[in-house]
């Protein structure tokens, strides 16, 4: 009966029935849970509806024929259905999770990043510069992360049983050949570059991407700011010097300049240290970043120049008058890169860098003059096939030309080498779901000097174990050429090699992050030689090897204690290697078993002040006691240091800053120097290697001048 009635109407009033189509159905996620409030509509029309509390929707449309129905909801991929409107009934729409979301798993094995919006950030941009022990050096802030070793007298990054040369630094993806100011024994160096030009820092302690090579242990990636926020002038007046910065913006371009001058003479006059300075440390540096938008692309040019010099006499157990040392260094680094989004989700990146380093060192009667010219060129393409599949590939070339002139009253030598390395890499990012992601890469390198081709596969994998936790695994092969100190004597070698195996667990929720990482690093092909100090007559080969394994723990909490933000890092390291002139496998003196860092920041609102605290502990480091049999068989006492700082906001744009390193004046011994020959009792005399000064004090005044009268340099401290 019913059917015939409808048929009746259909026959007589066909227009009424067919002019208004009802579109109806249900929207769910992939687990079948209804999605409430999804937007369902016919594209280009005004017709649509929101899904109700049961995920159901229904609306009438006057549209006919083939149309596209769009179903969208926040944090899901939009779904489009193109069909005849009359067939859009009883629809069962399943929306896929948008993998471009905070909830998606990220590959976190091995890397720490600092910056905005990064899902694996453990440090915030401010931390780089407000960490008490760091004294404004970004390397100092990274030394509070697990995986690093406390080598206080050096100042560089020592990662997971690797020496400082095993970490490479890149600015905007382009290598920095001479990242640290040269210095001498027992005077810690600092990173050359001012943190205020960078807005993103990724520090990888292993298992990093195939895009990066020539680093056995670690890479540090620094990105310069794409677009400065405003025009401003920064003035810094410090107890050790001064600085001036200025940023100027135009319609499509901007320029930031930064100059600083440091002279330790007044400080050392007031607080003399253990060295006898003829010419206390003095450095002048300038940096500039220019950015220009070209169409959809961005061109960035970065340049930095610095010159530093000092002269001193250092105690020496073999020379009663001490060793005279003087150093004069000029360093120029420039880096240009261009990136642009092309059609069809292609991105192109091209960049290059040039480094000029000129170092003159005088040790007693001998003069050494080094000149390094290095360049790096890179071309990279990226294709985003979808949110779930991305491909990244490119090629690069490293060129180094190194020359050394060695002069003594009765001896002179010229040394040098040319090193060309060509490399290509390819890497795919595959996101299977919000829970599972995979990164697969391979890198090939050809060294012209060694006539050697190496292939390094890399893989990492991440799986989300819970709402706030994930597990990552990483594997990789890494090759690096021996350092300049070896290459200047021989080219009859091969690249040194490591393999990394990493497992990482990360939990993060409510401003708390917990990370634990276990790793094993296998060294092979390490360079060995037969003398304490290599020279032209030394015999070199690649017969060294070793391992490093351990556990890194990181905990950060910004929630539990009001106005207090703190983090704790602990590293356990077990490592031995045979390299250089080691007679046996041993733990090198730059590696220690336990490292602990505690960093805290307390904001006192009534005082408009931030108080910073940091504690560093490193267990004893190995040394060879010549009075007993064995090699690197003894350990020093542990290292302890507490640093404090206080930043006081005088007004919105004026900051007064105080800091003190090793506030409690712990007596730290970094190692021992033994006499070359025993005394009449057959005993080798020794001397403690103490820091030049136990404590360091710093006072600074920082003033920012900008139109909005709000910006300040708290992020530069």
């Amino acid at each position: 009966m019913k059917i015939s009635v409808i048929t009746f109407f259909a026959l007589f009033f066909p227009l009424i029935i067919f002019a208004q189509n009802t579109i109806a159905g249900i929207v769910t996620d992939n687990k079948g849970t209804p999605i409430i409030g999804a937007n369902v509509y016919i594209e280009g029309s005004y017709e649509g509806a929101s899904s109700d509390d049961n995920g159901k929707f229904s609306f009438e449309t006057s549209e006919t024929g083939t149309q596209t129905l769009t179903i969208s909801f926040v944090s899901f991929e939009a779904f489009k259905l193109t069909d005849d409107v009359s067939k859009m009934k009883n629809l069962k729409i399943v929306l896929r999770d948008d993998v471009n979301s905070l909830e998606t798993v990220t590959i976190s094995a091995g890397s720490f990043s600092a910056g905005d919006n990064s899902k694996i950030s453990v440090l915030k941009p401010l931390d780089i510069v407000t960490t008490a022990s760091a004294l404004g050096d970004f390397v100092g802030a990274l030394q509070t992360l697990p995986g690093t070793t406390t080598v206080a007298e050096d100042g560089r990054l020592f990662v997971r049983g690797g020496d400082a040369g095993e970490t490479q630094i890149f600015i905007d993806g382009i290598r920095v050949f001479t990242p640290y100011s040269p210095t001498t024994d027992n005077i810690p160096t600092r990173g050359r570059y001012s943190p205020f030009l960078f807005d993103g820092i990724t520090f990888s302690t292993g298992g990093y991407s195939a895009e990066y090579g020539q680093a056995l242990s670690s890479v540090l990636l620094l990105n310069t700011i794409d677009e400065p926020t405003q025009e401003k002038t920064d003035i810094a007046i410090m107890s050790v010097g001064g600085g001036l910065g200025h940023t100027e913006k135009w319609e499509k371009s901007s320029l930031s300049l930064n100059a600083s001058y440091i002279n330790l003479a007044p400080y050392i006059a007031i607080l003399p240290d253990r060295n006898d300075w003829q010419k206390p440390f003095e450095t002048a540096s300038g940096e500039a970043v220019f950015r220009q938008k070209i169409g959809d692309g961005l061109l960035k040019v970065y340049g930095a120049f610095d010159t530093s010099n000092f002269a001193l006499t250092q105690e020496d157990v073999n020379q009663p008058d001490g060793v005279r040392f003087k150093l004069n260094n000029q360093n120029f680094y420039t880096n240009a890169s261009f990136s642009e989004m092309l059609k069809n989700d292609w991105t192109i990146f091209a960049g290059g860098s040039y480094t000029y380093g000129n170092t003159k060192v005088g040790i007693d009667e001998s003069d050494i003059k080094d000149v390094e010219n290095s360049a790096h060129f890179k071309l990279k393409l990226k294709k985003r096939f979808s949110n779930r599949f991305k491909l990244n590939f490119g090629a690069e070339q490293f060129v180094t030309d190194f020359n050394e002139n060695y002069d003594e009253p009765n001896f002179a030598a010229k040394l040098g080498f040319n090193n060309n390395i060509s490399a290509a890499f390819m890497e795919a990012d595959i996101i299977f779901s919000r829970k599972l992601a995979l990164k697969l890469g391979v890198r090939g390198e050809y060294s012209k000097m060694f006539k050697e081709f190496t292939v390094s596969p890399r893989a990492s994998f991440a799986y989300k174990t819970g709402k706030n936790s994930q597990l990552s695994l990483a594997y990789g092969d890494f090759f690096q050429q021996p350092e300049n100190e070896v290459l200047k004597f021989t080219n009859n070698l091969e690249a040194q090699h490591t393999q990394h195996y990493i497992m990482n667990y990360q939990y993060s929720a409510n401003n708390r992050i917990f990370r634990a990482e276990v790793y094993r690093k296998q060294y092979s092909n390490l360079v060995t030689y037969n003398e304490a100090m290599p020279d032209v007559n030394s015999i070199f080969d690649n017969s060294g090897d070793g391992y490093a394994q351990g556990l890194d723990i990181f905990w950060r909490d910004n929630e539990t204690l009001k106005n207090i933000d703190y983090w704790v890092s602990y590293s356990y390291l077990d490592t031995e290697r045979k390299y250089k002139n080691f007679p046996i496998e041993a733990t090198p003196s730059f590696a220690n078993t336990h490292n602990l860092s505690v960093v805290a920041k307390y904001w006192i609102n009534d005082w408009k002040s931030q108080i910073g605290f940091s504690y560093q502990y490193g267990s004893g480091r190995t040394y060879t006691d010549l009075n007993e049999p064995g090699f690197l068989q003894k350990k020093t006492k542990g290292y302890n240091s507490v640093s404090l700082n206080w930043a006081y906001l005088l007004s919105q744009q004026k900051i007064l800053y105080f800091s003190i390193n090793n506030a409690f004046a712990f007596k730290n011994v970094n190692g021992y120097q033994y006499a070359n020959t025993p005394d009449s009792n057959g005993n080798f005399a020794r001397r403690e290697l103490r820091p030049a000064a136990d404590q360091f004090f710093f006072v600074g005044f920082f003033w920012t001048i900008s139109d909005d009268k709000k910006d300040n340099q708290l992020d530069n401290l």
Partner: protein
């Protein structure tokens, strides 16, 4: 620093007060589909169904690819609702969505002071959510956007109000005089009296808020 920024920016939640007037083209005979749609959206919004309103604006946005107002309102609803969102994943999804719609609207209407202010409010939502992480960079960006918006529309009371309110927060915190900003607020109130939106459905909010601030801070 977190607290400074949080303080600086909390007042933005007050922008939730949308005094959107229903300026329908009643003089015209039949409202167009566009007018019907926009009216329906504003009605839903006033009934506290802001997400349904956002859905309607989103639909209109696809049908009116040359009109910046529908994407502007989609973005505005997402931004306003973010101020009270505590779940970081949801917050990010909403603000990403808002950013996409601001980008769409900006592509249609360049150098639009209302869009610049909305972009500044989006940054503010990030700052309110996590001042320590986003405060430094985003507060400078927001300041710059307010300056730019005011330069483009020096006599628009809503822009004067937004910038004055932003600056006032900082001045109060450091115990500086808020007198100059009170003058700006007064100027905004004067200008609101004669303010005529450029066209139908253009943003008109702000007068109530200006009076409220004056009553609370400038007496």
């Amino acid at each position: 620093m977190q607290n400074v920024i949080t303080y600086l920016t909390l007042f933005f939640t007050a922008l939730v007060m949308q005094a959107q007037t229903e300026t329908t083209g009643t003089a015209n005979a039949t409202p167009t589909k566009y007018q019907q749609g926009m009216n329906k959206a504003f009605q839903l919004w006033q009934e506290d169904k802001s997400w349904d309103a956002a859905n309607v604006f989103e639909r209109i946005a696809t049908a009116e690819p040359d009109n910046w107002l529908p994407p502007y309102y989609v973005a505005q609803i997402n931004v306003i609702n973010s101020f009270t969102e505590k779940d970081p994943a949801k917050l990010k999804a909403q603000l990403d969505k808002a950013q996409n719609f601001i980008n769409d609207a900006t592509a249609i209407s360049k150098d639009n002071p209302d869009l610049l202010v909305l972009q500044a409010q989006l940054y503010t939502a990030w700052i309110v959510f996590d001042g320590q992480q986003y405060g430094m960079t985003y507060s400078a960006k927001a300041s710059e956007l307010y300056n730019k918006a005011l330069a483009l529309a020096p006599d628009n009371p809503r822009i004067i109000l937004a910038k004055a309110e932003w600056d006032m927060g900082g001045a109060k915190y450091f115990g500086q005089s808020i007198e100059p900003y009170c003058k700006d607020i007064q100027r905004a109130i004067d200008l609101f009296a004669t303010f005529k939106p450029v066209g139908e459905f253009y943003p008109t909010y702000g007068e109530e808020r200006a009076k409220q601030i004056q009553a609370e801070s400038c007496k």
